[in-house]
Subunit: 251 residues, 2 copies
DNA sequence: GGAGAAGTTTGATCCAGCGCAAATTCGTCG
DNA sequence: CGACGAATTTGCGCTGGATCAAACTTCTCC
């Protein structure tokens, strides 16, 4: 599908590889202060900038496939992507959701452990993995930032394991809505979690996040609306009316 | 229970803190070449050794509690520990299993995101977290090692998420047995996975790993034995008779 | 603005895994 | 050895969520 886009490069390590995208301008980058690049000074940033290329990705497009060689890593500038593992018979589990300023790809390892697919149109800043690895090894602060991010991501993954293994459908949906209201509000202008927000994905994807079927997910939302816990102004909009009750349900 | 053992220290950063354990002798450490310490040369190791203390832990003893301040991190020298998150009503999900040479605790963050409990008698090498953080910041190779370990752990956690969200009880048990046969054989002398091995935990804990009840877990094992897939010589011993069939079930 | 496609909701039925309780096996300590 | 306690297995009924199917809603594109 996007074969040429991410084809492994045969250029020597450290050389800027052109993936066809626009040259990165780190100084004016929208996630300059939030992404791992925040650990770098102006000079280092200029070096890293030479390795990066900006790319637009369409909703639904898959950047990397589970198990395939993944010759690139990237920062997300805009949009939302999902990390997916496939089970038997077309079943899928979403194992991570990636927001702007988050990092995607697997440094120091060549196979991608999961598929990465854009859930919305997105913009990302791509690096050749090997070049990035070398750069990271030469810049401890960047690795430190990456380590912290990975530790946070691991904590989040483990909490999600508890949700998947031990929560009921109702608890799962409530937990999900609360987490999304927090992570999505982190996006826009500051402040605490917003009661109303727009989900960047549909029912099937919510189901794939929660380890449920689309029908169960839909039924839970309908029931919560009937009970006045929330409103559903449109397909992707959620308004939490009673946050305290929602938290009580989430457990 | 073990309050004094891990009480936060008020000593200044970088000072060796005595937790009551024996002084670490890194040079003769059983996990010297496998733990993150393998990134250090003799001189660095001597420095780190001054910060570490060896400790014995009894089976069932909890080192850190979910949400509590966790003033220490540690390497596991011997034994097996579990990372646990509690859900409502006494339900528990095991979110990680820690083997010798693995690292426990949360560097660069003060609250422990989960409980850490010994499943067998264990021996660990403990560091004051703040001292360790400082040491790590001064030694990029150590951070690199820690980053790689954390990335691997994240991959494992995400695969476990897929298991918890999308696999049937039968698939869960098969996957579990295969993974355990690999990780446990990594322990002893080299070679591939062993068909027979001893689990370091009982049925309830297997259930807590797989997001099942103890009854369902037991029934699956009994059924697999009846079908000749495996033998159960004793409560904690497993012998996989037909690995190929087991892999086919695991999916 | 209307036809078609895609996504969502709702209904009806089914069954894998849960919950409770009793029986059994295993370990261990006097 | 024997008896107690803990862990595990087994039986049985039930239910939460899955599955199958159909209606409905919302977008898209002409």
């Amino acid at each position: 599908m996007t074969g040429a886009l991410f084809a492994p490069s045969s250029l020597p390590t450290g050389t800027a590889v052109d993936y066809g995208g626009k040259v990165t301008d780190c100084a004016s980058c929208v996630v300059r202060n939030r992404a791992i690049c925040a650990s770098l000074d102006a000079e280092e940033l200029a070096l890293l900038g030479k390795l990066g290329r900006n790319h637009r990705v369409n909703a639904g497009q898959t950047l990397m496939w589970e198990g395939d060689d993944a010759p690139v890593v990237a920062n997300v500038l805009d949009g939302v992507l999902k990390l997916v593992l496939a089970a038997a018979e077309g079943r899928e589990q979403i194992v991570g959701i990636v927001f702007p300023s988050d990092f995607i790809g697997r440094p120091f390892g060549k196979e991608s452990p999961y598929s990465v697919t854009a859930m919305t149109d997105a913009e990302i800043c791509i690096f050749n993995r090997k070049s990035f690895d070398d750069f990271a090894n030469a810049h401890p602060d960047l690795q430190h930032k990456l380590l912290r991010r990975t530790l946070d991501e691991l904590d989040r993954a483990r909490h999600w394991m508890m949700l998947l293994g031990r929560k009921s459908a109702e608890e799962k949906v409530a937990s999900f809505l609360l987490e999304m209201s927090e992570r999505l509000s982190g996006q826009g202008c500051g402040g605490g979690p917003q009661s109303g927000f727009e989900l960047p994905f549909g029912r099937q994807q919510i189901a794939d996040i929660l380890g449920l079927t689309i029908e169960t997910t839909s039924r839970q939302l309908t029931r919560m609306r009937a009970e006045g816990l929330l409103d559903l102004p449109s397909r992707r909009e959620i308004v939490i009316n009673d946050r305290a009750a929602m938290e009580a349900i989430a457990g």
